[in-house]
Amino acid sequence: MKVLVLVKQVPDTATQVKVGSDPRAIATTGITWIVSPYDEFAVEEALRIREKRGTGEVVAVSGGPERVKEALRSCLAMGADRAVHVLDPALEGADTLTTARVLAAVIQQEAPQLVLTGRQAIDDDTGAVGAQVAELLGWPCLSWIMEEAIAEDGATVRAGRQVEGALELFDLPLPCVLTAQKGLNEPRYPTLKGIMGAKKKEIKELGPGDLGVNVDGPQLELVRLEALPPRPPGRIIPGEPKEAVRELVRVLREEAKAI
C-alpha cells in the first residue's frame, strides 16, 4: 500500500515569535525549522502501516522554499522511502486553498491509497489543508484521528476520533484522507543509520509548472499580523489566608466572572 504523508516545515515550538518587517509574516532570522509535530504523528503512523503490512511505500510530500528539503530529509531519516518537494517559495505565504490545490495535484500524480497529515500545522493553526485536499480529490476525510486500522484487503479503514467522553469509530473506503491528533502514536527518533541512509533516498523536485495548477491568487488574504498586547501583571491578594480566599472568590466571581 502506498501511503502519502503531507508535512509542513514550521518554526521550532520553542521559538519566540516576532512580527517581521513585512507585517504579514514573522521574522525568520535565527529560527530553527522542524517538521510540524502533528505531521510527525502522520509520518509515524504511515511507517507503522508499512511495517504492519510488511510491504508498501511511504512518500513524504511538502512544498515551499529550498530549506523545506531538511524537513523532508527528517522524514526520510525516520524511515519514509522517498519524498516529493514542490519547490516554490511562493507556497510559503500561500493560502490554504492554494496549498491544497498543489498538494492535491501531487496526490493525483502519485495515486496513493491513503493520505495522512497532521490535524493542523503548529504555525498558522488553520487546520484546513487536510479537509480541502480531500474535497478537491472528492475523497472522504476524517480529521483528528486517535487510532486507525486498515482492513486486510486494503479496501477500507476503521478510524477513531476522540469526542467528549467517547471514541467515535468510523469506517471509510480507501483512498481517503486522515488527519492525525496527538495520541495517535509516539513518533520514533530517527536512528543514526536512518540519518546516514536518508541522503541516499530520493527527494523528487517539482516546480509549480510541473503540476498544471492554475493559481489565481489567494482566496484568503492575510492582512497583517499584530503583536498581542502585553499581559497585564498578576495581582497579589494580601492578608490572612481566610480573608484572602474570600476576596479571591469575590474577585473571580464579580470581576473576572470566572466562577
Binding site: I34, K69, E70, R73, S74, A77, Y189, P190, T191, L192, K193, I195, M196, A198, K199
Partner: protein, 381 residues
C-alpha cells in the same frame, strides 16, 4: 573555509538534541540522585545507534564522521554528563581501540556487539598507583606457551562494572617502560577477571566507575590487541580521539549550564525587574556564551581535522584543555547567576558544575595537556 554543518550533521545534532531533551533531561536528576546506572536510557542509545556512532556499517556502526560524533556527545552532555561520559568512553576508548588496533577477526568479533549496544565497553590504563605516569604501570601480562597470564588492578574505569567487553593495558616487558606495554581484550566472566569496588565520586553519579581486578587471568594470543609491546603507542592515538569527546562533553555541560542561566535570568526578578536586565548578569552571560563558542570551535576543528585524516595530538589536547576549563568557569558562574538556588539540587547547574570537573582530570589532566601542547610547539617529542 566553511563553518556550515552538512545536512546530515545538522540532522544528527537535531536528533541527539530531541533525544536528550525528551528522554534524558526528564530523568537525569533522578538517576544521579539515586547513583543508579541508567540502563533504560543506555538501551535506547543502543537502538538509535549512538553506541556505534563512529564505526563503519560493516561492523554494525552508523559510520558517522567525527564532527557529527562531537555534536552528538555535546547534545547529550547538555542534558546529562554521566550519559555523555558513558557514550564517550564506550565509543572513543573501548570500541575505538579495537577498531584502531584490532585484526579483522577481532573487529568482527567485538565491534558489532558494542555498536548495537548489546555489550558496553570499558577501557583500562589507569591504576591505583599510576595515572599520568603510565610507565609506573604494575599490571603484568606474562607470556607462556598458551598465551598470557594477566595480574593487576585497574582504577577509575568508566563502565568498569557494567561492561561486557574491556580493553586493558598490561606490562609485557618491564625493561622497556612505556614501550613494553601491550593491550588485551577481555570479556566479562573470564576466570579471574572481575570488577572491584566502585567509587564515591564528586559528580557523574549516573556513570559507572569501578576498579577492574585481574587475578591470574588467562588470555589467548587472539586477545592481544595490536602489536606486542605496541600498546602504549596505540593508547596515545586512542586518547587523541577520546579527548575530542571529553572536550565535547565539557562544551555540552557548559552549554546546559548557560541555557539554565539564561532561562533563570529571564524569569527571576529582583528590584522589580528580571535579573537579566542588570548589566552585571548580562556581562557574565555574554562572556560565558563567547567562551563556550570558542571551546566549541576548537572542538569541532579538532574533529574536522580527524575527519581529514590529519594528526590531531595538538588540536585535541588544546580542545580538551580549553573546553574543560571553560566548562569549570561557566558552571561556577552559572551557580553564581542562580544565587542561593544555584547551590541547591532544585536546579541542574550544581550537577553540571560537579560533573564537568572530571573533564579537567580524565583522559589526561589539564597539566598533561599543557605538557603535550608545549612539547608539540617546542618540538621536544
Amino acid at each position: 573555509m566553511d563553518f556550515a554543518l552538512t545536512e546530515e550533521q545538522r540532522l544528527v545534532r537535531q536528533t541527539a538534541r530531541e533525544f536528550a531533551e525528551g528522554e534524558i533531561a526528564p530523568v537525569a536528576a533522578r538517576f544521579n540522585e539515586a547513583g543508579e546506572f541508567p540502563w533504560e536510557i543506555v538501551r535506547k542509545l543502543g537502538e538509535l545507534g549512538f553506541l556505534g556512532a563512529i564505526f563503519p556499517p560493516e561492523y554494525g556502526g552508523a559510520g558517522l564522521d567525527s564532527v557529527s560524533y562531537v555534536l552528538l556527545v555535546e547534545e547529550i552532555a547538555r542534558a546529562d554528563g554521566s550519559i555523555a561520559l558513558t557514550v564517550a568512553a564506550h565509543n572513543s576508548l573501548c570500541s575505538g581501540h579495537i577498531y584502531l588496533a584490532g585484526t579483522e577477526a577481532q573487529r568482527q568479533k567485538y565491534l558489532p556487539r558494542l555498536a548495537r549496544g548489546e555489550a558496553l565497553g570499558a577501557w583500562g590504563i589507569t591504576e591505583p598507583g599510576s595515572g599520568s605516569d603510565a610507565s609506573a604501570m604494575k599490571t603484568t601480562a606474562v607470556e607462556d606457551d598458551a598465551g598470557f597470564i594477566l595480574n593487576g588492578t585497574k582504577a577509575f574505569i568508566t563502565n568498569g562494572s557494567v561492561a561486557e567487553i574491556a580493553v586493558v593495558m598490561a606490562v609485557t616487558d618491564p625493561a622497556r617502560a612505556a614501550k613494553g606495554i601491550s593491550a588485551f581484550v577481555l570479556e566479562r566472566g573470564a576466570p579471574g577477571f572481575r570488577p572491584g569496588g566502585t567509587y564515591q565520586k564528586l559528580g557523574l553519579h549516573a556513570s559507572d566507575t569501578a576498579e577492574l581486578i585481574l587475578d591470574n587471568v588467562r588470555v589467548s594470543r587472539e586477545q592481544l590487541l595490536g602489536q606486542l609491546h605496541g600498546g602504549f603507542v596505540d593508547t596515545l592515538k586512542v586518547l587523541d580521539g577520546g579527548r575530542i569527546s571529553i572536550a565535547a562533553m565539557a562544551v555540552g555541560l557548559a552549554q546546559g549550564a548557560l541555557d539554565a542561566s539564561v532561562t533563570y535570568a529571564r524569569e527571576r526578578h529582583a528590584f522589580g525587574q528580571p535579573i537579566g536586565h542588570f548589566q552585571g548578569i548580562q556581562g557574565m552571560l555574554a562572556e560565558l556564551a563567547t567562551e563556550i563558542e570558542a571551546a566549541r570551535l576548537l572542538t569541532l576543528r579538532a574533529a574536522y581535522l580527524k575527519d581529514q585524516g590529519r594528526g590531531i595530538r595538538l588540536e585535541s589536547s588544546m580542545a580538551k584543555l580549553f573546553a574543560s576549563e571553560v566548562g569549570m568557569k561557566v558552571t561556577t558562574k552559572a551557580i553564581q547567576i542562580h544565587g542561593g538556588y544555584g547551590y541547591t539540587r532544585e536546579f541542574p547547574v550544581e550537577r553540571h558544575f560537579r560533573d564537568v570537573k572530571l573533564c579537567e582530570i580524565g583522559e589526561g589532566t589539564s597539566e598533561i595537556q599543557r605538557l603535550i601542547i608545549a612539547r608539540q610547539i617546542l618540538q621536544l617529542t
